[in-house]
Symmetry: C3
Amino acid sequence: MASIWLDKLKLPMTLVVLQVLFFILFAVFVDYSDDASPAAITPKTMNGNGTEPMEEETEGSNSLHAYYGMFQDVHVMIFIGFGFLMMFLKRYGFSSVGLNMLIAALAIQWATIIGGLVHNHGKSFTVDVTSMLTADFASAAVLITFGALLGKTSPLQMVIITVVEIVVFSVNEYIGVEVFKAVDIGGSMFVHAFGAYFGLAVSRVLYRDDVEKSDKEGSVYHSDMFAVIGSVFLWMFWPSFNSALAVEDAQHRAVLNTYFALAACCVATFAISSLVDRNGKFDMPFLSNKFKIHDTCGVNNLHGMPAIMAGITGAIVVAMADTKTYGTTLYRQFPAMAPTSSNDTDWSIMGLEPEPGKGRSAGQQAGYQIIALVVTVVIAIVSGLIVGFVLKCTPCLSQPSGSNLF
Amino acid sequence: MASIWLDKLKLPMTLVVLQVLFFILFAVFVDYSDDASPAAITPKTMNGNGTEPMEEETEGSNSLHAYYGMFQDVHVMIFIGFGFLMMFLKRYGFSSVGLNMLIAALAIQWATIIGGLVHNHGKSFTVDVTSMLTADFASAAVLITFGALLGKTSPLQMVIITVVEIVVFSVNEYIGVEVFKAVDIGGSMFVHAFGAYFGLAVSRVLYRDDVEKSDKEGSVYHSDMFAVIGSVFLWMFWPSFNSALAVEDAQHRAVLNTYFALAACCVATFAISSLVDRNGKFDMPFLSNKFKIHDTCGVNNLHGMPAIMAGITGAIVVAMADTKTYGTTLYRQFPAMAPTSSNDTDWSIMGLEPEPGKGRSAGQQAGYQIIALVVTVVIAIVSGLIVGFVLKCTPCLSQPSGSNLF
Amino acid sequence: MASIWLDKLKLPMTLVVLQVLFFILFAVFVDYSDDASPAAITPKTMNGNGTEPMEEETEGSNSLHAYYGMFQDVHVMIFIGFGFLMMFLKRYGFSSVGLNMLIAALAIQWATIIGGLVHNHGKSFTVDVTSMLTADFASAAVLITFGALLGKTSPLQMVIITVVEIVVFSVNEYIGVEVFKAVDIGGSMFVHAFGAYFGLAVSRVLYRDDVEKSDKEGSVYHSDMFAVIGSVFLWMFWPSFNSALAVEDAQHRAVLNTYFALAACCVATFAISSLVDRNGKFDMPFLSNKFKIHDTCGVNNLHGMPAIMAGITGAIVVAMADTKTYGTTLYRQFPAMAPTSSNDTDWSIMGLEPEPGKGRSAGQQAGYQIIALVVTVVIAIVSGLIVGFVLKCTPCLSQPSGSNLF
């Protein structure tokens, strides 16, 4: 009886301890960015020149206005898109939406803290609307992992996995972005590939011989309809996901390319669906059933392999990029390709003042992109395997009986 | 037979009369704001100086662009969020979404008219995107009241309540904002506390001994799923609700604070839910069941008490606010704290030209915030009780039989 | 057996051929607009004047920022709004959402290509965020046609209809906008009237004596709830649909007018619904049932007649428009009414430099608006009849058995 009570207390206590830890870390390390901080009043005595009015911050200059719309699109993808997409497993409706929300809420806070600390080398850092965006991106990686483990892990295990994965995610993203200077605007490598292979590695260790199909894994009509809502929201807002952190004309291109690519993929998907279906009918849940046999929601097919292909394609494209085609945008998009010193080039003509780059050639940048991709997959698999083994050797983290799974 | 026909005519006739009244009042009192009015052509003869081109209105200067994105987020909260949240009562699905939509559509028009008349002392007034926002906020108060009366009032009664509540709401908001110069960006006091206590007061008078639980009050699986959709949409767009009418860096902070607070609350809620649940499972509808016993959808717990706590917290925080921390934003956020005359201060340095304030100290402003909160709760309860008694003494406004309730 | 395989191959092969065709046409004819193209680097040697910095493109000047928010609202209307609205037919849930998505994905790509070619007289053209908006508008016309044919056409027939309709749509829109210089911001004529009468004409030819009601045409509770989600999303984002392509104060007015008109229509609809319902209850699916008897989803009542009335009303209003009321906005909104030469007027004072117009009077513009409306309806009906006859005479395009319908 006492042990049952202890069992019941494990999850809520873990959540409370984590949330209190988040509060403390926020209080110690986090501040508002300049955009979110009040404009200081400069007293006359400190100004010296009393006639010069302080430059008033104009409405448009606040980064909130530039990013908030797309942030909300991404936010809807995380909580409606992923949440309802994962509802297709029978009787897991509430659990999946709820657990999706809990995991995302944990991941968002933890990613803000860990991401900020990693990028600022352990010093205090600031938050603004772009840090909200990157926190949502990080939670997307964890939710892709969640997809690979759906129906196979206890909530407590998922909470532990979330906490560990965000740390590894942030370190890997730091290595890719800051060390290799790789660029991954849509998150193919650092979000999709990382989340997928981390999750598949955990799954592999935990359920080596768990191949029998539980009868719970079927899907029912109405759960499927909610999954359709989820996937349509993911589909619609994908241009925002892929372009939110890009700049100006590159952002505009990212929106256009994603928009047309999604429309083309939609046509191709229905062509294949109609081909393989017995009656030549369209069947959206049928599509997902195709993938469900081996890894529940097809994380490898949906996120893993496409992300690797996207990473390789990105590297190929950057290998062919030059300033003749991309102009100054090339250096803003791939800062490491900018000349090492302003003296080498015609910055003054361009009216731009980027930081000096590393003077990489297109081929070099492509090489670093590939290295970042390989490192991401290796780190994801190795850390996922370790997390899987630790969870396997810590039986107290799992639910006592199979019927309470989830 | 004739009386049944008369009964049937009461609701549609009331709606038609109200809508015709709205048309007339719009025609008489409402005009477009400057932002929504065509730029006048100044003929040469009237200009005198023909060489000076009229300043062209630039795209970015139209207030539509600054507010429309967040307005649509709030709009989704009102019609999807509230609409589906209230679906959890068994068999009330269609009724609650439909009645929610009707009430909001009435409240939006009526609040535009009454709010405009009250703030302009009975003179004609203008509408723009911010008046759309405040009309949506007013409808939120009525929908919170609706939540307290769900399943207990006829549509006709709800229409009457809407018409009366919007008038009292607007007067109370005028008193709070214009007389006490209290500031309530997220609407804790004027929207949540007012709507909740108005509704609870009406409910108290109408159903003093109506404690037995109707078997209709249960909930079914799929209705609950729609309620989950509603609450997730409310959750996601709350940062927009809380920040839509704030300015610049204050708006950015409101977004950040709401975003992180919601994530933290989500974790805490699941911790508690997991603790009280028999099986240690997550159960989102379970959460709402907790609150359903006493006042249907927990209006006091969800809106009333939290709003009072928010109002008090706001007063405490403003009592500690000074220009050292908040700079010029303090005066834009709390205009009554601005110096009484521009001569007293260094406006010219700040490049700002706010209207002269009342020179309130932080403690004085905190006092007025508390007064506004107390007045709001008192007005809400007293007017709610009066509306309840009037409805109780006007049996022709209720539905003839219990089976047609709703 | 072979013929069954051939039958099964027809749809996927058609989709593959179309998609490959789209790829080729995109490669040959489509380029990024300036807003989406990288800023060119002007080398020193080519500039001549090395001291003058190139004008940096500022964040706000990219048209993406001005249009993307409203584009996403329209996008949600197309895929969630139309998709779920069409779910109310029993057992067609998945099919209608899926087929809606396929048709929209085809229409978006094809409309981009055909619309671009028509407006550029067969020469290559550019795409940007506004071309995404117009492509979504074109897909709305096809989806309205789809509504008139729901449950009566095979997917293959709908694909053929989509391909033909987009061509006729683009030609008609070109005639209306470029030849008659008619203005139709909300798409009443070119989208709603065209889509409705095209679909009704196809339906008339294909199903002349198909009046018996299939038992599949009923609706079930939960499908209806999804249809309610669809219609609420359409309702909420309509202000974006109607104003997305309008400018400045005209856009602001379009938002305000649509917002208040929708609220008033909502009240009127519930008054009528409550009047006709047996029990005086609100019943949202009941509303749609009213229209379902004759043309499935009431395309004539919902889109056809209202669009004609809107077109006529628009002509009446423009007949009374002058610069005293609308100022310079009049010429931006109705460019054909602008003076033929800048010498005639006071452009320099206004700080505007529009292209010279046609000097039309208000009455002339109204006449052209009516001509565009009549031409639209005639083209829609004639082309719809032709498509219907062709489909009727091409039995291989229809599904073999009724049970596979859809």
